[in-house]
């Protein structure tokens, strides 16, 4: 057991990438009513477009024999909250 000193000023452990990716995938699947055989890929890349922020998150919905649907956010995976994901997904549906 760790009985070491606990720093009261220490930063609380932020949810990391694994949790954030699971959350984004589950919310996407639920909101778009996607079956389990459709692959949702969440990745973080440097944005390739001039003038963009330096990091971009892409949520891609990959269906066999169809062009992938991609939803882009100009921020890191861990910075995307549920409401902006929901808004972006609504936009793709419209």
């Amino acid at each position: 057991m760790n009985g070491g000193f606990v720093n009261p000023l220490a930063r609380r452990r932020a949810p990391g990438y694994p949790e954030a990716i699971d959350r984004l995938k589950a919310a996407t699947r639920e909101q778009l009513h996607l079956s389990n055989d459709i692959v949702i890929s969440v990745t973080e890349l440097a944005c390739r477009e001039p003038g963009c922020p330096d990091v971009e998150t892409i949520i891609a919905i990959l269906t066999v024999d169809k062009k992938p649907r991609m939803i882009r956010f100009r921020k890191r995976i861990v910075e995307i909250d549920g409401s902006e994901l929901a808004a972006a997904l609504r936009e793709t549906e419209s």
Binding site: Y17, A46, E49, I58, A60, L62, I77
Partner: protein, 417 residues
């Protein structure tokens, strides 16, 4: 027929290529050194990829006459062109021209920031377009034969929180080796929590402990089939998405390369011609790690120390961990300058250079004063930060109390003098 192609066709077996990945400072080069000391690994060609303008890793890896080594600068995953194919083709060409340079396997050590997806797409047949003679030769002569990911048991949890590349590297691996499990600062001595975390990202990879008595490094790199479908849905998705993105029109290759890891992650290197006192080196590392904190991802270097300039120090700093400098018996090459390479996240490079100059270049009296000032500035910064955090923590209930308190009636307000 092209002479080298003719030679290559005379050889029937394909050459296995194993990828060694892992985040910055996990101990990839140490693994390569251990591997190369095993006689079974004779005839191995090593491709070392460094995320820097000045190469150091190639001098930290011992290579005798049996092995070949190529060093690449810049991140192999960032290059829009198929550089891994170029390196393999050049190795093949060298062996075709001179039989003394023949090799029977290749190990590619990626930079710690490498995204595996572009690399794997280049190596797995059918995943990326094949152009010209070079790509055809590589496709016929080489095969992907495993993906090893090294994971630092002392820093993995924090790294996984902050760096997406680390997660991807783990997910692509078919074998994962935990390093630094013998260090005392490992808060999870049995690594159970880390293993659970890795299992969540990659349920099928073998997880091995570098310091387990039964650990066999040669078997870690034993060529085997690498099937992306076995790596799970995420890996297949990332590979597919990378292919889609690769087909999109992009800005210039150079700009894309610079931006792949984001503008906040950068590397810089500098050299120093004059031997450095050991005490000054220690001071530099102390102040640097205090000043940079999490913004320093990695530092590595060769340092010419004044007490014995013929025997340089090898430096490794991984995030906040400064590993004890290791003394080499001799310089690995003719270049006897001090060389430091830093990989940073949002860190002002000029401040680091200035700090190094202050500590190493000025006279003793001024140096002592500068060190005191530098440490004092860092301490004031920390105290200020602590104060702000404390005020923030204390202020929150007060704000809540103000907003929930009932409004003061006008009559009561009139009572106030």
């Amino acid at each position: 027929m092209h002479a080298t192609l003719k030679n290559s066709m005379a050889v029937t077996q394909t050459i296995p290529v194993t990828i060694l990945s892992g985040f910055l400072g996990v101990g990839k080069s140490t693994l390569i050194n251990d591997l190369l000391s095993d006689p079974v690994m004779a005839d191995t060609a090593i491709v070392v990829n460094e995320f820097s303008d000045i190469g150091i890793d190639h001098e930290l890896i011992r290579v005798d006459q049996r092995e070949m080594m190529a060093t690449t600068l810049g991140c192999i995953c960032c290059t829009a062109g198929s550089d891994i194919r170029t390196f393999l083709y050049e190795l093949h060409e060298a062996a075709a021209k001179d039989s003394r340079l023949s090799f029977s396997r290749v190990i590619v050590e990626t930079t710690g920031l490498a995204d595996p997806a572009p690399l794997i797409n280049q190596l797995v047949p059918g995943y990326a377009p094949v152009f010209g003679l070079r790509d055809h030769v590589v496709a016929h002569r080489f095969r992907m034969a495993g993906f090893v990911c090294a994971v630092d048991a002392t820093t993995a949890e924090k790294t996984l929180e902050q760096h997406f590349e680390c997660l991807k590297q783990i997910a692509f691996a078919d074998r994962i080796v935990l390093t630094k499990t013998d260090l005392e600062n490992n808060a999870d001595p049995d690594n159970e929590r880390l293993r659970t975390q890795i299992r969540h990202l990659n349920p099928t990879a073998d997880i091995l402990d570098r310091h387990d008595g039964a650990f066999d490094i040669a078997s870690l790199f034993q060529p085997r089939g690498y099937v992306t479908a076995e790596r799970g849905e995420d890996v297949e998705g990332w590979l597919a998405l990378e292919r889609v993105l690769a087909a999109e029109p992009t800005e210039s290759d150079a700009a894309a390369r610079d931006k792949r890891h984001g503008a906040t992650i950068g590397n810089f290197a500098f050299t120093h011609d004059v031997p450095i006192a050991s005490a000054d080196l220690a001071d530099f590392l102390d102040v640097l790690t205090l000043m940079a904190d999490a913004r320093l991802l990695r530092l590595k270097g060769l340092v010419c120390v004044s007490d014995d300039p013929e025997r340089p120090f090898v430096l490794h700093v991984v995030q906040h961990n400064v590993h004890p400098p290791r003394r080499l018996n001799a310089w690995p090459s003719e270049d006897r300058r001090t060389r430091l390479v830093l990989i940073t996240h949002n860190l002002d490079h000029d401040r680091v250079r200035n700090l190094f100059s202050i500590i190493t270049d000025v006279d003793k009296h001024q140096r002592t004063r500068s060190k005191v000032i530098a440490i004092a500035v860092c301490l004031v910064g920390l105290i200020t930060l602590g104060g702000v955090l404390s005020i923030y923590g204390l202020a929150k209930p007060g704000i809540a109390a103000t907003t929930t308190a009932p409004p003061v009636p006008p009559s009561a307000r009139n009572d106030i003098p």
